[in-house]
C-alpha cells in the first residue's frame, strides 16, 4: 500500500532523511518510533504529499508522489498534532467544508455517520473553538476519515491529551483502523503504540534502523527493543 525506496529529503544543505526504505502491506498498522529530530514528521509529510522528496521513489495507494499527488490525496487521511479545523465554524460546518473539498456525494448522512463514530453527535452545532483538546482531536480524525481513505497517517495524535482523552482517542483509532485501512502512526508514547500497532519501525537519524512485529517482541517488551535499536 505504501512503497518507499531510497528516500532522501534535504532542507537546503541539511539532510533530514538519508535513504529510507519502507514498505507497508494493506491492512497493516505501523508505529513509527524514534527520538525528536529523527525525521518522523518530515517522513510523514512526504507520504502525505505535503513535502516533496529530494531523491528516491515514493508510492502511496499505488500512485507515485509527487507526480500523482491528486490521486494520492483522494485516498489519504491525515491526522496531525494540529487539528486542521476552523475555530469559528461548528463541528458540522467544518466537516461540511472538507466534504465539499473532497467532493463527497451524499454529504449529510456521511457527516452524521462520522460524528457518531467519533462521539461528537451531540456537539455538532457547537463552535470548534469551544471544544477541548481531546474533542478537537477526535473531530480531526472524523475530518480525516470523511472521504473513507484507504491509507491513514497519524502524526503524534496524542500530543497534549490527558489520560481520559487519550483512551477515548484509542477507541476511535481502533475503529478507524479496523476497517481494513492501512495506518502509519508516529508516536512518543510506546504503551499506546504497543496496544495499536501490528508492526514497529524505528526511525533514527534519517533512516529506518530496525523493525519488529508483536510476535518478535514476546521475548522482550517494546521499550527494550526501542532502546536497543537506538543504541545499536
Amino acid at each position: 500500500m505504501i512503497a518507499v525506496k531510497k528516500l532522501v529529503k534535504r532542507f537546503g544543505l541539511k539532510t533530514v532523511l538519508r535513504g529510507v526504505d519502507f514498505e507497508v502491506q494493506p491492512g497493516e498498522f505501523v508505529a513509527l518510533l524514534g527520538p525528536n529530530g529523527a525525521g518522523k514528521t518530515t517522513f510523514l509529510r512526504i507520504l502525505a504529499s505535503l513535502s516533496r522528496p529530494s531523491l528516491g521513489e515514493v508510492k502511496v495507494a499505488g500512485f507515485r508522489l509527487p507526480n500523482e499527488a491528486a490521486a494520492v490525496r483522494a485516498r489519504l487521511g491525515v491526522v496531525s498534532h494540529l487539528p486542521l479545523l476552523y475555530g469559528d465554524l461548528t463541528a458540522e460546518e467544518n466537516l461540511r467544508f472538507y466534504a465539499r473539498m473532497y467532493n463527497i456525494t451524499k454529504m449529510e448522512p456521511r457527516i452524521t455517520e462520522v460524528l457518531e463514530m467519533v462521539g461528537l453527535e451531540n456537539r455538532r452545532h457547537d463552535l470548534v473553538r469551544t471544544f477541548s483538546r481531546g474533542m478537537q482531536q477526535r473531530l480531526a480524525i472524523g475530518r480525516a476519515v470523511l472521504h473513507d481513505p484507504d491509507v491513514m497517517l497519524f502524526d503524534e495524535p496524542y500530543t497534549g491529551l490527558d489520560q481520559d482523552a487519550s483512551s477515548m482517542l484509542d477507541d476511535v483509532l481502533k475503529t478507524v483502523a479496523a476497517k481494513g485501512r492501512t495506518v502509519v502512526m508516529t508516536s512518543h508514547d510506546l504503551a499506546r503504540a504497543e496496544e495499536l500497532a501490528t508492526r514497529f519501525d524505528i526511525l533514527s537519524r534519517g533512516m529506518i534502523t530496525a523493525s519488529a512485529s508483536p510476535t518478535d517482541l514476546r521475548r522482550g517488551n517494546l521499550l527494550t527493543f526501542y532502546k536497543e535499536a537506538l543504541a545499536g
Binding site: F11, G12, L13, K14
Partner: protein, 232 residues
C-alpha cells in the same frame, strides 16, 4: 579555501583601471557643459550606474523564472548577487541624480516618473531582502525570493508607465525628441566619448562585482556545508 580564479583577478584590476580612466574622462577630458556647468559631469556616472543596475534587476527577474522551473539553488545565488549589486548601483544613481538636480532643477528631489520609480524600485528590493531575512529554510527562502522578485520586477516598469501618464520634467538625453524638457542638452563629440566610455566601464565593473559576489555566495555555501559536517 579556493583561490580566486586568475580571470577574476585580472578583471578586478581592469575594473579599477577603467574606473580611473572613466573618472578622468568625466572630470577632465569632457568639456564643461555651457548651461549647467561642471555639475553636469556627474551625468556620466549617473547613466553608467543606472544602466547596469537596471540590467541587473532584469537579470534577477529572469533568474526568478529559471529558479521556479529548475529549483536549483544556484539560480537563487545568482539572483541575490544581481539584486545586491544592482541595489547599491541604483542607490548611487539616485544620489548622483540628486546632486545634479539641485542646481539644474533647483531641488534635490522631484516626484517625476523616473525618480519616483527609482525610489519605488529601491523599496521593492529592500523589501525583498527583508522577506528573505524572515525565512530560515533555504529552499523556501529561494522560492519566496523568486516569487517576490518576479512580482516586483513586473510591477516596477508598470509603475514607471503609470506615473508617465502625468507629465515628466526628467530630460531625455538619448534619442529624445523631448528636448524642451528642462535640463536637456546636446552632447559634443568629446562628451560622447566620456559617456560611452562610462557605460562600458560600469558594465565591466558591474560584471566584476557580480562575479565576486557570486563567488562569495558559493563560498558561504561551502562554509555552511563544512559547519554541518563538523556538527554531525
Amino acid at each position: 579555501m579556493q583561490d580566486k580564479p586568475i580571470t577574476l583577478k585580472v578583471l578586478d584590476i581592469v575594473s579599477l583601471i577603467l574606473l580611473g580612466i572613466s573618472t578622468y574622462l568625466a572630470l577632465v577630458f569632457a568639456p564643461t557643459e555651457l548651461v549647467m556647468g561642471d555639475v553636469q559631469r556627474v551625468f556620466y556616472f549617473h547613466i553608467g550606474t543606472a544602466w547596469t543596475a537596471l540590467m541587473g534587476f532584469i537579470l534577477a527577474a529572469v533568474f526568478s523564472v529559471v529558479y521556479l522551473i529548475k529549483k536549483d539553488l544556484k539560480w537563487d545565488r545568482y539572483q541575490v548577487a544581481a539584486i545586491e549589486v544592482s541595489l547599491v548601483f541604483f542607490f548611487i544613481t539616485i544620489v548622483l541624480g540628486s546632486i545634479w538636480a539641485r542646481p539644474a532643477w533647483n531641488t534635490w528631489w522631484t516626484w517625476d516618473p523616473r525618480l519616483t520609480t527609482a525610489a519605488v524600485t529601491e523599496l521593492i528590493y529592500i523589501a525583498y531582502f527583508m522577506l528573505r531575512q524572515g525565512i530560515d529554510d533555504p529552499d523556501r527562502r529561494a522560492r519566496f525570493g523568486a516569487v517576490y522578485a518576479l512580482v516586483g520586477g513586473l510591477s516596477a516598469p508598470i509603475t514607471f508607465f503609470a506615473i508617465r501618464l502625468f507629465r515628466t520634467i526628467h530630460p531625455v538625453v538619448i534619442g529624445g525628441a523631448n528636448a524642451e524638457a528642462e535640463g536637456g542638452f546636446a552632447m559634443t563629440a568629446d562628451m560622447r566619448v566620456a559617456f560611452f566610455f562610462a557605460l562600458f566601464a560600469f558594465t565591466v565593473i558591474f560584471v566584476d562585482l557580480y562575479w565576486n559576489r557570486i563567488r562569495l555566495g558559493n563560498l558561504q555555501e561551502k562554509v555552511e556545508q563544512l559547519k554541518l559536517k563538523v556538527t554531525l
